[in-house]
Assembly symmetry: C2
């Protein structure tokens, strides 16, 4: 769990550069997010988790913290069309957003970290003159587990 602290210190300096502080509440929020980075938590879900460690925090603060982290490009805000935004840490070395596989049978969300879109972005640039800086890609379908069960 060494690198988690490193990551938090990292985020702290990003906040400082923007004239913001890493308060205990924000630290708890970021830490909880780091410990659950593959879960795509909603603000409320994150809130209940954070509360277990840092009881002195309100839901609005979690929302505000997430908004700040989003503005700074530290977290991603994803919408799986289930009625609320979900949050996801952007890996520091990744320029691009990772992709998601959303199983319509069991609801599981799987991550794809390979950037599969470089060719496609090249094509978009050539055909439309559009300069891509980021992307959102969600595949809907049936995951390996559910396919296996089906048979």
């Amino acid at each position: 769990m060494e690198f988690l602290e490193t990551r938090i210190t990292d985020i702290e300096s990003q906040l400082h550069q923007a004239g913001l502080k890493l308060t205990p509440q924000r630290r708890a929020t970021v830490s909880t997010l780091l410990h659950n980075c593959e879960k795509h938590l909603s603000a409320e879900e994150l809130f209940t988790l954070v509360r277990k460690k840092e009881t002195d925090i309100g839901l609005a603060t979690v929302y505000r913290t997430l908004e700040i982290l989003f503005e700074l490009g530290i977290v991603n805000k994803i919408n799986f069309e289930d009625g609320m935004s979900r949050y996801d840490l952007r890996l520091s070395d990744q320029g691009h957003f990772h992709h998601h596989l959303l199983c319509k049978v069991c609801g599981k969300v799987q991550e794809v970290h390979e950037d599969l879109l470089l060719d496609v972005e090249e094509e978009v640039k050539n055909k439309f003159g559009f300069e891509v800086t980021d992307h959102r890609l969600i595949f809907h379908g049936i995951c390996a587990d559910c396919l296996a069960k089906k048979k």
Copy 2:
């Protein structure tokens, strides 16, 4: 404007197959959507447009109609992370969702109708055993117009 009527008749029979009716309110909603198919209207925006033609319609009906059309696969529901769902007609011959280019300078949304992801889906199938049935792809970046102005 010939083909629009054809399309509406088309949709009417799809509704009938599902035991539903194309009421005047639904007709007005569909028609307005057809006339603004490239605009990615929200439910409220669509409602105010529909109201100009068919004054006897409520917001709930527009929401209900959009939900039905979505269930039948006639419209797409897209989330551009601006706080509400936007709706989009699915072209009858397209199995897959089309893609969008979202300019972060002027906010314009451009459509890409080529399916650029066939190879990528193949890779997802091979690597993860995930069977893709549909996808959502949004490119964020700067459109050709805004790039030109910048210089």
